[in-house]
Symmetry: C2
Subunit: 537 residues, 2 copies
């Protein structure tokens, strides 16, 4: 495997997100981060910010925001957000996310108590800025990172984390499979403002040197304990890959495509015994409850192509995840459910409907889905379509897909493209769901666009630097950024300029559009002509 | 405005689409083009091909496929596909598209007769390979090209046409606004195997040197006649921008964003008279019927931001387009209806429902829609999401959006990205609609993926060269392309390899998956162990 060249260090975030300031909103003793984008002639636009405190030495890690909160709870046997929520307690984490989401803390508490939302927040992850995953809240985006044998250093992994969160990743999964897996994760945890998820079976497999048959519940619990101690916030557990489901995949076009799923299937076949993650599920619950590590119940049998979507294997596993959900809740554990993969558009709704039904409304966390298989190299797009749709239907978090999916390991550009594509999907879903305030950024950008405030248009964009660069390719002069037309149409054909005149005309004497009847318009037409031969002056 | 550097000439299409051959399917005296992709161990996969005859000198133009068909009909007063279809006549064009779509010619005829589909095919465009736009057929993609003052030569415009159709554009709109508008269009027509659409009001505006108020129905008909003679296949006519709708746009966030719409709105305001395209509509019909130029009834009041979606102006205009549709049909003219723009996901279905209802099921042709406004630089993606959705709901053709939308003029890479994104959206919609044969390519690619036939996977992709390049970034060795694992997981974690073993296990003795009960599995587990310590040999 070829080593990638070491990427250049990250530049300051203000160069990627210009004309912005990080602000801390102080309320009830909490300081909650936002980013404020300066907008000409308007109040700064405040947007959700996932990038965390900046400028800290990675060797020191981030400030331990949650240390005092956790210290006060040190006597609690089941220190999980679910346990508190059910007892009517509103934790600092709940208040923190309520401010971030601009909702009432009681909504946060009640959704968590009902199992419809989770705050993945290991009591050992003190650096975390809490966030919530649930369908009454903003749709979230996960980005995967992870070293592979020779391609990355630990410093690079931390940079990947910082890079993904700069562009808006709400959680990051560390899928490292190399040898430095423990040390890499330690650096990531201490420098992560977002929840970190893992797939512990990967590390177990490293410990048995790739011999799947040597895996066991004891080894798994030991590894899980190690990760709980480090502060991992949620873990993918493929407890739904039951022995009886494995043959259901034999006639599939692409069989089992989840790594964890195929590992557990192989173990089941080898021993002809039931999946130890299933039989040992309550032992796992007992461990996770002590740390408030959330379950991400893994979809080891998700379809790897559209032909395999919504089949007996996929939905069988989903039912098992639904059966395990109340078991985890009984232990006080928070739970989300993993889903999709490759699903054609007309089969997406069925996934959402079934998940809500059989998994008792636990939050859904889906990969894409990819809505067609024919575009390797563009699977951020094939999956962004499905992600936006399933997000609008109620999926709480979307796992990103990069352009390299199916082809190779993503580099920094791919990670950025994947995150931005998924921020688009998540935001489109927020708009469709009518989330309070979701429209504000669209409307601010649209106003800037109509008024030819190019700088504001760039700054309000998800990716200001790219927007500016594209503009400058055809109109590089600085003057062009204040011009009342652009390279697409030129001054002759500029619809926006004409519209501006139309608006002034209709509003000149306080005439509301609905009153601008034929009679009213006649006067205005005269006025319009009197104003001169051209509207472009 | 800066001149773009002249791009390098197009390389041979086989370098972009390797291991493919163009084939002509001969039936009933017609020769219909397809592309056949070679697939290891399977029959070649035949795919729809829009790129036309290759290797012709642009000064000669393409062969005149339709010359004998048109000659035989020379006595007909209304030589339109609609007129023939209503009389029960199946034309060569209808048979041609039936073969392309793999449907019965009678379906084509009856859909055209009902006004639910069109074959845009000017009797003067002899080089055309006919195609059909309607919701019972494959979803189509339009790409826009067009010179602007100093940035392109005529040769470059022909290359843009060839480039867009290479990647799958089904029609091309020539939106040129420069001075060589007539000559440019002549070269495009003579070298285009796909229908060419225009917006004639642009050329009219050039003729009056940008003075909107000097436009008139006479000038318009004269210009339209010139374009009909050249062979333009469909024309956008903004006949629905009525005087009374203009004030409805005054309170919008972004007013009128269609160039044609703003031109007509300005004319209406200046003269305080009704839109001459509306009052002169039957004169336009009479002209178009003589050439079988199809109407694309323009959405001059489409929303330019999500805040303006589905408002009174947009839907008022749509109703007027619905009123004009049967007028055009009465003259024998074929009609499609233009729509969307910027529409959040939850408001898309209403567009489709209304269009079908008020426009009597005439085919819908939409720009995107963009489902959010916050991602300039990525509007191929924001709009690809909306396009896939509205396509699956019944929209017949999708007008592409490039990454440069709102920012600048697309270059060759942008055109390719736009077309491929829209091929994804259209194909995803075909899958969702269950179009016959639509799944074949997905399934062939998925089989190749599962079998680690990397070359086949690349060749079956929408963009083989990009897929290969992404793969080679991490695993460049040629041997890697036959390896039974890839850079994503490495051999340890390869779920596909494990699955292959699971399948062989389940099928070894002809046991169907559903029979592989616990008892059957026990025998298999023993066999599995007996087969050796590793599944990876």
């Amino acid at each position: 495997m070829a080593a990638s060249p070491t990427p250049a260090p990250l530049r300051p975030w203000t160069e990627d997100l210009p004309n912005s300031a990080k602000v801390l909103v102080e309320r009830d003793g909490l300081a909650v981060p936002f980013r404020e984008i300066q907008v000409t002639g308007e109040r700064p636009l405040r947007v959700y910010d996932t990038s965390g405190p900046q400028g800290h030495d990675v060797r020191d890690g981030l400030p331990r925001l949650r240390e005092p909160w956790i210290r006060r709870r040190s006597g609690d046997a089941t220190p999980t957000q679910l346990w508190y929520a059910r007892r009517g307690i509103i934790t600092e984490e709940m208040r923190f996310v309520a401010i971030r989401e601009q909702v009432e803390p009681e909504l946060v508490r009640s959704e968590i108590a009902a199992g419809r939302a989770i705050i993945p927040a290991n009591i050992r992850h003190l650096e975390l800025e809490p966030m919530i995953i649930g369908r009454r809240f903003l749709v979230k985006v996960n980005a995967n990172i992870g070293n592979s044998a020779v391609t990355s250093s630990i410093a690079e992994e931390v940079e990947k984390l910082q890079w993904a969160t700069r562009w808006g990743a709400d959680t990051v999964m560390d899928l490292s499979t190399g040898t430095d897996i423990h040390a890499t994760r330690e650096w990531i945890m201490r420098n992560s403002p977002v929840p970190i998820g893992t797939v512990p079976i990967y590390q177990c497999l490293e410990k048995v040197k790739g011999k799947v048959e040597d895996l066991s519940i004891e080894l798994f619990l030991e590894t899980l304990h190690e990760q709980c101690e480090q502060g991992v916030d949620y873990v993918t557990i493929h407890a739904g890959v039951l022995l009886r489901y494995v043959p259901l995949t034999a006639k599939r076009v692409t069989g089992i495509v989840s790594r964890g799923g195929s590992i557990m299937a192989k173990w089941c076949l080898h021993h002809h015994r039931e999946n130890f993650l299933y039989t040992g599920f309550e032992r796992i619950c007992a461990l996770l409850a002590k740390y408030d590590v959330s379950f991400s119940l893994g979809d080891g049998l998700r379809p790897g192509c559209t032909a395999d979507a919504n089949d007996a294997a996929q939905f069988g596993e989903l039912e098992t995840l639904g059966e395990l959900t109340p078991v985890a809740w009984k232990h006080g554990c928070q739970v989300m459910i993993e889903g999709p993969g490759h699903v054609p558009m007309h089969q997406i709704q069925e996934n959402m409907d079934r998940q809500l039904k059989v998994c008792h409304e636990a939050p859904f966390y889906t990969l894409g889905p990819l809505v067609t298989d024919i575009a390797p190299g563009y699977d951020h797009i094939t999956s962004g379509i499905g992600a936006a749709m399933i997000g609008s239907m109620g999926t709480a978090m979307l796992c990103y897909v990069t352009p390299k999916e199916h082809l190779g390991l993503p580099n920094r550009d791919d990670v950025k493209t994947g995150v931005i594509t998924y921020k688009i999907a998540a935001h489109a879903a927020d708009l469709a769901k009518g989330h309070p305030g979701a429209r504000d950024r669209d409307d601010a950008l649209s106003r800037a666009r109509f008024a030819f405030r190019w700088e504001d248009q760039f700054n309000l964009a998800l990716d200001p630097v790219t927007a500016r660069a594209y503009h400058d390719e055809t109109l590089p002069a600085d003057g062009a950024k204040t011009a009342h037309f652009c390279s697409m149409c030129g001054p002759h054909f500029c619809s926006m300029r004409i519209t501006d005149d139309v608006r002034r005309l209709a509003e000149a004497e306080g005439v509301a559009p609905e009153q601008a009847t034929a009679a009213g318009m006649a006067a205005k037409a005269a006025e319009f002509r009197a104003a001169g031969g051209s509207l472009y002056t």
